[in-house]
Symmetry: C3
């Protein structure tokens, strides 16, 4: 039991680190200085969970446990150093980013369920935890959030969150298995979307 918790905690730290790296890479397209990098990295890594905790009136996770903040800062600085040495292939980050999305979705959904939130709220909280950091990153860089225009991302998150909620509330499945099923669905849809370029229909009133 303890080893499963340790594993989940390790994956959570890795998810935070990967999102921090994505923030540095995105900010690197702009003439930001080192501090700007760090801010965008922290916003990308911690923004979703912070919004979730503030809205659910829980203690903010990175204030309660400093490890998340340390992981985000170190990952941001390491990415900054690495990219000055040599260009990284952007696709390098897609797999761990998908793992991070799955994990953030699961943790957000479960936190809301634990507080007795109804099904639609709980699933939305999972999506917010998963994608808000990336939206914040792009708003700070003054561009349209990537999550609104790319391959399936939030949709993958929502599908997995709904599965988790359904299994927990009506399926009588234990939290651990529900989390595993929901997280796996997020990961599968996201990876398929990347592999086969799955997208939602684009909507435009005016050209």
């Amino acid at each position: 039991m303890i080893s499963v918790d340790s594993l989940l905690y390790g994956i959570a730290l890795a998810g935070v680190a990967v999102q921090a790296s994505s923030g540095v890479l995105e900010a690197g397209r702009r003439p930001f200085d080192l501090f700007g990098m760090v801010v965008v990295a922290l916003a990308a890594a911690l923004g979703g969970g912070t919004l979730r905790d503030v809205m659910l009136d829980r203690k903010v996770f990175w204030i309660a446990d400093q490890s998340y903040l340390t992981a985000a800062v170190l990952a941001g600085l390491a990415t900054f150093a690495l990219v000055r040495i040599r260009a990284l292939p952007p696709k390098l980050f897609l797999l761990p980013d998908a793992v991070g999305l799955a994990l953030f979705t699961v943790s957000g959904t479960q936190a809301a369920l634990a507080m007795g939130a109804p099904w639609l709220v709980a699933s939305l909280m999972g999506v917010i935890t998963g994608v808000f950091g990336g939206i914040l990153r792009d708003v700070l860089c003054n561009q349209i959030p990537l999550v609104f225009v790319g391959q399936l991302y939030a949709t993958a998150s929502w599908a997995g969150a709904l599965l988790l909620v359904g299994l927990s509330l009506w399926g009588g499945v234990s939290p651990g298995w529900a989390a595993l099923a929901g997280g796996s669905l997020v990961l599968t849809i996201r990876l398929c979307a990347l592999a086969f370029d799955w997208r939602l229909p684009v909507f435009a009133v005016r050209s």
Copy 2:
């Protein structure tokens, strides 16, 4: 007494739905996918009330009562479907939007007064509840918030909030009548501003 509460509740749901529609229409000018639409719709519909509740340390209204979230999602999807069929006249939304502004202003102001907030804070909380959703919608769409540049909108909200606060704190008027007076003032100013193109002076340091 119950019927008045039911009426207010129904108008609140309608206000949320209308703001969600405005989010979809605004996002539709950008190459957003279906999920992007939904996020902007939710931000426009729920953003103001969420900020109010978080700052007042109340339970977030759409987490406590899922109906608001359902109304926003359904209205967003319906607008999405409708606009793909035929273009809607933008002015169609101006009347219910004005009703929504009046109602959000009243609910925000009263929530702050109920917590013992002083008069300036209470009135500002009403304005934030009324207009923050629209600001968030425009920031997500990467453009200057419309509320800063159009006909009187926040000014209408502030005037009504101040009237409500004044009647409640110093006029000895009951909450129901104060709400009615404040809300009516918001609605009247906003509709007159639209009809007669009332605007605040524009300010520019540099051309």
Copy 3:
């Protein structure tokens, strides 16, 4: 003892007023109306402290004490009036702005320490309090946050916050002297950065 508290309170109000002025000056480059000015002024003046209080689950400072809100609104309106009469030299605001940065940093760091936050979290909370208002101001004006691209600003804040935390947690220094030392370091670094054009290295992956 009382006179020191009064002095700090006065400086805090002055810091809020100066940040409100900076918001009006920034918004004045855009075709905003009077209300847009006021919103940007309030966001610049109150944004950092609000985010700090919400994340630490404290009562929001300007809701608890209306004086801050009054100071921000009055300073914003006064700046609006002044600039319509004659152009102000932008450098006029740099000295009081640096004082405000120092004070916001100290107050944010001390609030986090008082709640038992660990060192890295406490110092970051000081930085957030100091710089978030300016970031919000620039996002609302739809441009890249100045704090990410100019002379040392957040770095000055972070250095002072770390000194304050170090002296308090490990130096056995009383809160008053630690605050004085930390605040002075922020002010010194910021003024030197302006005088000698100190900047962090800029990072760009792609040209």
